[in-house]
Amino acid sequence: MAISSKVTIECLSAVVDSAEPAVQALNRRVFLKAGLLLGAGISTGLSLGGCSSPVGLLPDGIQVLSAKQLPLFEKLISVLLPVEGSILTPPNAVPVIANIDAMLGLMQASTREDVLVLFDLFEYSSIFSTELTRFSQLDNIVARNHIEACQSSSLFIQRAVVTAIKKFIYIGYWRDEKTWGPIEFDGPVSKQWKLTSLGNAPLPTA
């Protein structure tokens, strides 16, 4: 559904404005350059296929991520972990999104807010290279190319966001023990090996 350019601009402006605190610690000049690019895109009069993502129900236990952010993560998992035909554990057998949500929940509030803004930025980062399509709505091949383009971008903010997002997905996946067997990772071993505690060292004698 097409929406008016006014709404589009408001949506994007909101993303840019809310992103400001997130990148204050980074290089402001470079980020402003990125902001200008967004602005330039808006000024061409392009329209965006909807500002808000399709909203579904949040899975049980999700406390930080919002329903509108789930399509982004579902797309990321699909693009970053295409394990079909490989030895790796299917990501649908692992609570990747719940794990990411829990990781966010442990962060300091200010850091968490910054990260959530970066997620939103990334969702909209594809609109200028993909005829106004949000990342979560991209075909997987296009989405993959977009990720790799961001990772090789001359704009460090794009490199930073993609690297951070990949880390969340990969940690969310690999921290689950169901992923370890196929690669022969042993996981915790001390109890399995019956390693007894040596306890506290004796007091020094000299």
């Binding site: 990772q151 921290r175 992923t179 042993d186 915790p188 060292a201």
Partner: protein
């Protein structure tokens, strides 16, 4: 002479937030120690063993080793500063520090080095620390090494990743040696960075802290010192807050009267404490001169199975380039689990990544670290800490050389491909490709994947009040009775893993404190 017995065979007597029932706690002691890592634990023990009453405050929680899960992400969140997410302000370098009883000694790789002679000479000649000679420090190194069961890795402690490092170094004619570690009957679990679940790593958790407590020291966890108090140029104690580690809710204000205060909170928190307290900074040097040994985890694929997560986490190292005249860096054969392998390099997106991780057991890892310049700064932006550090343009050629030599060692050992630790995909399959890719590297934000395990500097030791924060004995130039004993006092970075330098220097400072009288 009073006979002292070990207070407990396992675990520590620690006052935690859950133990405190009053909203205000007032205490008195001879010495207050802030932090329970390599610096604080030694100070606390030496003071308590000398008969002084000692209180130790640790901002982090107390987690007994029986609760270490050997799951790295879990332990990052439980035992590390900022749940393992402490970053430089650019956001491209993770700075890992322990934030728990025992501090970074609980979560390090147990590698021990004495301060290199060349570094001590530099401190003697360029920073005016004329008394801090090798001869003066040898007795302290010997003492702490004996206390911590430091030994050279034996053949069974050289895991496959380090055997490969040795093979590559030997082929190139590079000097390489077994590392020394503070372990006792190492269980070879490969989980050092998650804490040692069987207490074989001789961290402060099982050495200096239980010994200090056996001599009467009181240890408070979950308690962060907010300010150092002083009057007429003399330290008078500290004000702290105990918070519930789960909710962050304040449980109690804790006020301690003490004429001797020792900050051993580390190279990031010690300067922040001074800045919060608005003291000790007549030089304007508090928080400046931060260095951190920027490290990378290099990955290479081999035909043979490596299982980089198996065996002692750190086995051997290449010391060919250790001297600053030869580069000022070392390469350590270091293990890694799937989470580290998954993030240390960029093998590509999607199917390329899946293919790469499917061969995880064939991946070998190597830790690089180098002698960086003290170009960073720690400060507050409002109430938010800022770790302002980027690799300087002066240091970047060294970083390039480090990566080049590390990849050469891998290729000499038979690697099929090496992943350079860049943000974008940089995979090399030959020395020719390596040269090309190294030449293309540029210094800038989010170009490399870096981690620091060794924050240093920020509270320089030295005789000149205008150029340093503490004197040659660790005492503040401005506040009598206020000392610093941690890696923040290093005038420069030390090239190698710094824990034994911290242990020994703190033992030295303890002697100086006692010598001056309390």
């Amino acid at each position: 002479m009073k006979t002292v017995k070990l207070a407990s065979e396992h675990g520590l007597a620690v006052t935690q937030a859950s133990d405190i029932t009053e909203s205000t706690v007032e205490l008195t002691a001879d010495v207050v120690v802030i932090g329970s890592g390599a610096g604080g634990a030694v100070i606390a023990y030496e003071m308590a063993a000398a008969g002084k009453s000692v209180i130790i405050f640790e901002a982090g929680p107390y987690m007994p080793s029986k609760d270490f899960t050997e799951k790295f992400p879990d332990m990052l969140e439980s035992l590390y500063e900022d749940q393992g997410a402490q970053m430089n302000s650019t956001g491209d370098m993770a700075i890992l520090q322990g934030r728990c009883v025992g501090g970074s000694t609980v979560v390090n790789g147990a590698v021990t080095f004495r301060t290199p002679d060349t570094i001590l000479e530099k401190w003697n000649t360029q920073y005016g620390l004329t008394e801090l000679t090798k001869a003066a420090l040898v007795p302290y190194f010997e003492k702490v090494e004996r206390n911590l069961s430091v030994h050279e890795n034996q053949p069974h402690e050289i895991a496959k990743h380090s055997q490969i490092l040795n093979r590559g170094a030997k082929a190139l004619g590079y000097s390489h040696k077994p590392l020394k570690r503070n372990t006792k009957s190492c269980g070879l679990t490969g989980h050092c960075l998650s804490g040692c679940a069987s207490d074989r790593k001789q961290s402060s958790l099982v050495t200096y802290l239980p010994w200090a407590i056996s001599h009467g020291a009181k240890l408070f966890a979950d308690t962060r010192v907010m300010t150092i108090n002083h009057l007429d140029g003399k330290a008078t104690g500290v004000t702290a807050e105990t918070r519930d580690p789960e909710t962050g809710e304040k449980i109690a204000d804790v006020v301690v009267k003490a004429n001797t205060v020792v900050s051993s909170a580390g190279a990031i928190q010690s300067p922040l404490l001074f800045l919060r307290s608005k003291l000790g900074n007549s030089s304007g040097q508090v928080g400046k001169n931060f260095a951190c040994h920027p490290s990378t985890l290099m990955l290479a694929e081999f035909d043979e199975e490596v299982h980089a997560w198996r065996g002692a986490s750190l086995g051997s190292y290449v010391d060919e380039f250790e001297h600053p005249d030869k580069g000022g860096f070392i390469l350590e054969g270091g293990g890694s689990g799937p989470v580290e392998i998954a993030m240390a390099g960029e093998p590509g997106t999607g199917e390329e990544y899946v293919s790469f991780m499917s061969k995880a057991k064939n991946m070998c890892s190597m830790v690089t670290l180098f002698h960086d310049h003290n170009v960073g700064r720690i400060y507050y932006d409002d109430d938010k800490k800022v770790i302002d550090y980027d690799i300087s343009d002066d240091d970047f050629p060294t970083m390039k050389r480090v990566l080049h030599e590390a990849a050469k060692v891998f290729f000499a050992a038979g690697a099929k491909r090496v992943l350079l630790p860049t943000i974008k995909k940089t995979e090399v399959r030959s020395l020719e490709e390596l040269d090309q890719q190294i030449n293309l590297l540029e210094n800038g934000p989010h170009m490399l994947r870096m981690v620091s395990y060794h924050p240093q500097g920020t509270m320089r030791m030295g005789p000149d009040k205008k150029k340093s924060v503490v004197d040659a004995y660790g005492q503040s130039h401005d506040i009598q009775g206020l000392y610093v004993a941690d890696a923040s006092v290093f005038p420069t970075s030390v090239i190698v893993n710094p824990q034994i330098t911290v242990y020994a220097l703190s033992s030295y400072i303890a002697d100086k404190i006692l010598g001056r009288g309390i």
